[in-house]
């Protein structure tokens, strides 16, 4: 893991719209003529990335909500990596 990683900002890309879908009972990402249905875990993470959030704060918030989750940090970082690859999340490094 890059040492700067916890201080980077994350935010959902403006190419996607994130919203709750009552009929599907899940969060989704909408984009031109398409939709990605999110698992509840992915929904919990992305829900916290609607505004810019520092990764360390994101991890704290998730740990607070899910204190019993094993391997939470590793799983979340893996998801963030995938979501960036997919273009769902944008990262902005903070000057320290």
């Amino acid at each position: 893991m890059n040492d700067n990683m916890p201080r980077s900002n994350l935010q959902i890309s403006s190419d996607y719209r994130f919203q709750w879908e009552e009929a599907q009972q899940c969060f989704v990402l909408l984009y031109p003529e398409g939709m990605i249905q999110l698992s509840s875990t992915a929904g919990e993470i992305l829900q916290r990335c609607q505004q810019k959030i520092v990764i360390s704060d994101l991890l704290k918030s998730l740990q607070k909500s899910f204190p019993d989750a094993d391997e939470l940090v590793a799983d979340v970082l893996e998801f963030i990596h995938d979501a960036e690859q997919q273009g769902w999340l944008n990262r902005e490094s903070q000057e320290v």
């Binding site: 719209r17 009929a23 909408l30 398409g34 990605i36």
Partner: protein
Amino acid sequence: MSDAIILASDQKKTLPLWLLAELTYSCPLQCAYCSNPIQYADARANELTTAQWKQVFRDARKLGAVQLGLSGGEPLVRSDLEELIADARSLGFYTNLITSAVGGDEARLASLREAGLDHIQISFQGSDKKLNDYFAGTPSFQHKITMAKAAKKLGFPMVLNFVLHRQNIHQVADMLRLAEEIGADFVELANSQYYGWALKNRTALLPSRQQLIDAEAATNHFRQQHRGKLQVIFVVPDYYEDRPKACCNGWGTTFLTVTPDGTALPCQSAHELPGFEFPNVKEKPLDWIWQKSPLFNDFRSTDWMQEPCKSCPDKEKDLGGCRCQAYLITGDKFATDPVCSLSPQHHKIVEVVEQAQETLPQHQSQPLIFRNPKNAKQFR
């Protein structure tokens, strides 16, 4: 419309995730492959009102619709388009405008953006003025370019759509260059499929095998050179496949089309099928139409199938293929889609395809029947 919708495979319920609102059949273009019905003359008087469309949006949203395609005809013809977009957006729809861009200007685009439009798809009929304007049936090439550039300037994500056929498919490389120059995010190179107007013009439109091979090669060459920057989708005519595609991602599973007069259909072409009473949103509640109407239910399962579909291991995958294609080619809406090489009537497709391999000039000499009110009246 794009087939590129991404759906999770573990869809628990059947939801009309995609609502296609065909706001009007009026259109300044005359495309000879138009998916609108042949008999569309005099449709203007029966169009749904603004309030009726808003009711459709509300009811569809309750059923789970989330992507909204605003189409036609030419949706810009509707002067209430901004009001409809704003309403749909406030309900949580992702709004996609499917337009030729003809009949609009830059100020109109800005007001659509203001109203909350999410995405715009602009169709071109060729990569240059000559062919575009000939197939559109109206001088529009330069205007389309101006509008597409303006759409990007306003920040819209933008798809450019080219319907391919025998007489423009050689332009694929130029079409892709044009899309790149304009700054499109996505290009659909969609071969015409043969229903409605396109079926009437099939001999003049169906490309040869070699034309398809060359066009796909040009597409792949472009993809390699521009990896990742501009996404391109290439759709082959069904006639050149040997296994059919599931109709609309599965009949009555994902797509709900409402036509200008309020008729609700599982697929844009379903009005061509005989023996159905087509439900209308002016008379029946949308939840009844989606969940209970015979039209939406009759092809939902695999119970309706005949052989060879009935015992086919792929029946859950392709669901017997396109019902409209089956009916239009075989005269039986319950038949296997004749595109399938296992269909006992597959030879009917093979014959048409073989005919398309003949030299170009002979076919080009067959005049196109353009989609316009005068020609529509002939078919009444």
